[in-house]
Symmetry: C2
Subunit: 190 residues, 2 copies
Amino acid sequence: MLVREMTVDECRAVLAGMRIGKLACARDNQPYVVPFHFAYNDNAHIHSPITHLYAFSMPGQKIEWMRANPLVCVEVDEIKRQDDWTSVIIFGRYEELPDTTQFEAERASAHEMFSRHAMWWQPAYAATEHRGESQDSQPIYFRIRIEKMTGHRAVGDLVEGQGGAKRPPTPHHWWDNLWTHGRSKTEKER
Amino acid sequence: MLVREMTVDECRAVLAGMRIGKLACARDNQPYVVPFHFAYNDNAHIHSPITHLYAFSMPGQKIEWMRANPLVCVEVDEIKRQDDWTSVIIFGRYEELPDTTQFEAERASAHEMFSRHAMWWQPAYAATEHRGESQDSQPIYFRIRIEKMTGHRAVGDLVEGQGGAKRPPTPHHWWDNLWTHGRSKTEKER
């Protein structure tokens, strides 16, 4: 297996195709990482060199922490097989989009992006009840300003895989093990 | 969909069944999150109230950062469907297992756990070439001491799902959207 660095355009394509990632923030040097849903407009970079991931959340720990320290890191990956995966890592900055005239256009744009995927945000609400967050509150709109982005893609080994062609399955393959141990219940329960 | 808090035993079972998670560290309050492979012995808590995730890595950014600041956060999840997922979050501490007599038993035990899953560690090597890490070096063994662990599990809504029974697919379901956008390439390319 070879791992190669992705171009910025390739990273953007991954972000545009995904809806879920991991958002890490930190307070007093204690990191905290949670899954989060986001929206990314792949064409935004045509109009501005600065692009963002858009998201929202009920008030709670991660919002408090990001308000106190806006430095964040986001990881988005897509794992298909052991030798076919991508991982994008973003260093960025939390920017809240409060409900004021100044951010009206940004909020409308974010809302439009969210609305294209009706109901995808439901778990953000559902989960709040049990993570010490209040459902009485209004969701907080925010965006992550992308300051640095790197991506890596694994591709089949040239010797073993003839430049990416399918190769026969290898017994005791790490990914088979991972799959068996991590996902076997899914198959059984279906 | 309802989200309920998991017991510590349920969290342990998730860790024991998974091999990959996200490891977040921080330096100067800048978080950094990467995928990582780990091994967890589900029976360890019988012998000691303190349990660990075991892992190793080539020298590089995350090792440097965790040496400078041992506070870490780990997220491990298993997403089957929109209303059937688990997410475990660990606050912990990085503990290096150097190649000295003091840590001989711990290293042997870690190595034994890794060996049970032959080759699963290959990508850890492969990826190093492209993340500014050297392959000439020896891998660093480390463990994450689990200091606080919480888990959440989504279960089908009682009203909609008759206590967890399968319900018909909902159009414009957020998970369908997620799946379509995030995974459609997988299906096409297979």
